[in-house]
């Protein structure tokens, strides 16, 4: 194909998007809606993945001790826990260190809340932070530590705490969101394709006479098909570009909002997602557009 012919196909394809007016807008909108929802789900599951893996690495057991525990008992407990095969690390956290950690995790706001406490009035107990080799064993190890209380008359352990299924729940939620998202997006993509194939059908109907003459003078089938193919491609491309613009602007807003108001949530920075999300949406948009037009060409353009 010569450059001239290609220029003609692109010109004809673009013209008919303009000519089809509302039908084109409906097709583009349907692509935008499905791609936008897909984009939201991609970003959501990316962020959830990062959050869960972060949580995963933080799976640890906090063993809070009674306030009046002696140093000997602390040392004894420490060896008992440390001797467990599943445990990788035991760390003793004094109440002062506990206060520092709390302050740190609360950030700026925490300073005011905690300013009333001095070393003497610190209500926090001493504690151990226990890390296990395999996150799966957390529950079992926590029970074993709790059980140490029963063999010890002083009952030095006040409370044993761990993630208690929050990790699993988060994993499950991610999976559910992903599946739900996929089904929704598939449904919407099919709708979009249907709308596009309808739009192209209208173009084909409107140009029946032109197509007939082209066939008569000996235009090849691919020559006749190209403008419709271009039309579908452009509808998909425009839809994808619009979606990407909306999605990225929205995510940018979310990032700056989260940075100031939701400091405990760590979102993936824009630089790390834009290329992947952008190219997926672009590719999918074009695919939907081209597919939609192909359906129509095959069905209504008996060349």
């Amino acid at each position: 194909m010569t450059a001239n012919t290609m220029t003609r196909h692109i010109r004809e394809g673009s013209k008919s998007i303009y000519r089809n007016g509302w039908m084109s807008i409906a097709s583009i909108s349907s692509i935008v809606i499905s791609l936008f929802i897909l984009g939201v789900f991609i970003l959501l599951s990316f962020n959830l993945n990062v959050m869960t893996s972060e949580l995963d690495s933080k799976v640890q057991i906090r063993v809070y001790l009674q306030l009046e525990v002696t140093q000997d008992e602390v040392a004894l407990l420490r060896t008992d826990i440390g001797n467990m095969a599943e445990v990788s690390k035991v760390e003793y956290v004094t109440k002062q260190q506990g206060m520092d950690l709390l302050e740190e995790s609360l950030g700026e706001d925490g300073k005011d809340i905690l300013s009333g406490y001095t070393d003497e009035t610190n209500p926090l107990p001493d504690s151990f932070t226990v890390e296990v080799k395999d996150p799966q064993t957390v529950g079992m190890v926590a029970k074993k530590i709790q059980a140490l209380n029963e063999t010890n008359a002083a009952q030095p352990i006040w409370k044993v705490k761990y993630g208690q299924g929050s990790v699993e729940k988060l994993f499950q939620m991610t999976k559910m969101i992903r599946n739900f998202g996929l089904i929704l997006v598939a449904g919407l993509a099919i709708t979009a394709m249907f709308l596009i194939s309808n739009t192209i059908k209208i173009t084909i109907m409107a140009r029946q006479r032109e197509i007939g003459i082209m066939k008569l003078v000996g235009a090849t089938n691919s020559f006749i098909r190209w403008p419709f193919f271009v039309e579908g491609f452009l509808i998909g491309l425009i839809g994808a570009v619009v979606t990407i613009a909306i999605l990225f602007l929205g995510y940018d807003q979310l990032l700056s909002y989260a940075a100031t108001n939701l400091s405990f949530i760590q979102l993936i920075p824009f630089e790390e997602v834009w290329l992947m999300v952008g190219s997926v949406l672009l590719a999918l948009g074009i695919l939907i557009g081209v597919w939609g037009s192909t359906i129509s060409i095959r069905k209504f353009l008996k060349v």
Binding site: T2, I213, M214, G218, A219, N221, F223
Partner: protein
């Protein structure tokens, strides 16, 4: 050159449009196709440019076996056949030049050649002064001239015309006939279905009469042979 060998065309409902036609049309021939409406003239012509495929028998156009043609070769055979209709079939949104250029663009002719060839052909059909007119601004005769220009612009070896004067007044019809004669004189085969008795009886050429899908008469310098 067109050759048909025992060609049959049977439609889905079992009706026979063409029943065993064998005919040979030479390169310089000017052929009138006459006969009552529904006798099979249109089917006869449609089979030549492969709008219809024969159910049985063989058709050769310029050496190509039309019935056995591979789909993607059809366009290239059609480039050697120009078709003209009673209702002109111009594109209303394109002007005269564009309508003719369209036929060249469709076969991906280079721009430079299109630019040179289109005015040349429009001059030949006598529309040099109407290059930028829209079809709606033209008379019926002028529109048919544009259609003829479009049919010959790609230099076909055969022109198939289905009642080209059917929508025109007598005077305009004569002008169109003079144009077709001129094209034939330059070496293009012309096959023309017509109901115009005056034309057939005045410009004496080969006449093939079709009735009920069969050739009932084939005369080198024939007459119309029907009333009215």
């Amino acid at each position: 050159m067109i050759e048909m060998q025992d060609v049959w065309k049977t439609y889905q409902d079992g009706s026979h449009a063409i029943r065993g036609i064998s005919v040979r049309i030479e390169k310089d021939d000017f052929v009138y196709l006459v006969g009552p409406s529904g006798a099979g003239k249109s089917t006869f012509m449609k089979m030549i440019y492969r709008e219809e495929v024969p159910t049985k028998g063989q058709i050769f156009v310029n050496g190509f076996n039309i019935g056995k043609l591979k789909r993607r070769k059809i366009p290239f055979v059609r480039r050697n056949i120009g078709v003209i209709f009673q209702d002109f079939r111009l594109l209303p949104k394109l002007n005269v030049s564009e309508n003719v250029a369209f036929a060249m663009e469709a076969i991906e002719a280079p721009k430079k050649i299109i630019k040179r060839r289109v005015p040349e052909v429009l001059e030949l059909v006598g529309l040099k002064h109407k290059l930028t007119s829209m079809p709606s601004q033209l008379s019926g005769g002028e529109q048919q001239r544009v259609a003829i220009a479009r049919a010959i612009v790609n230099n076909p070896t055969v022109i198939v015309a289905d009642e080209p004067t059917g929508n025109l007044d007598p005077e305009t019809s004569w002008e169109i006939m003079r144009l077709l004669e001129e094209i034939n004189y330059r070496g293009t085969t012309i096959l023309m279905a017509t109901h115009n008795k005056d034309i057939v009886n005045t410009i004496r050429r080969r006449v093939i009469a079709i009735e009920s899908g069969q050739i009932v008469r084939d005369v080198i310098r024939g007459d119309y042979g029907y009333d009215g």
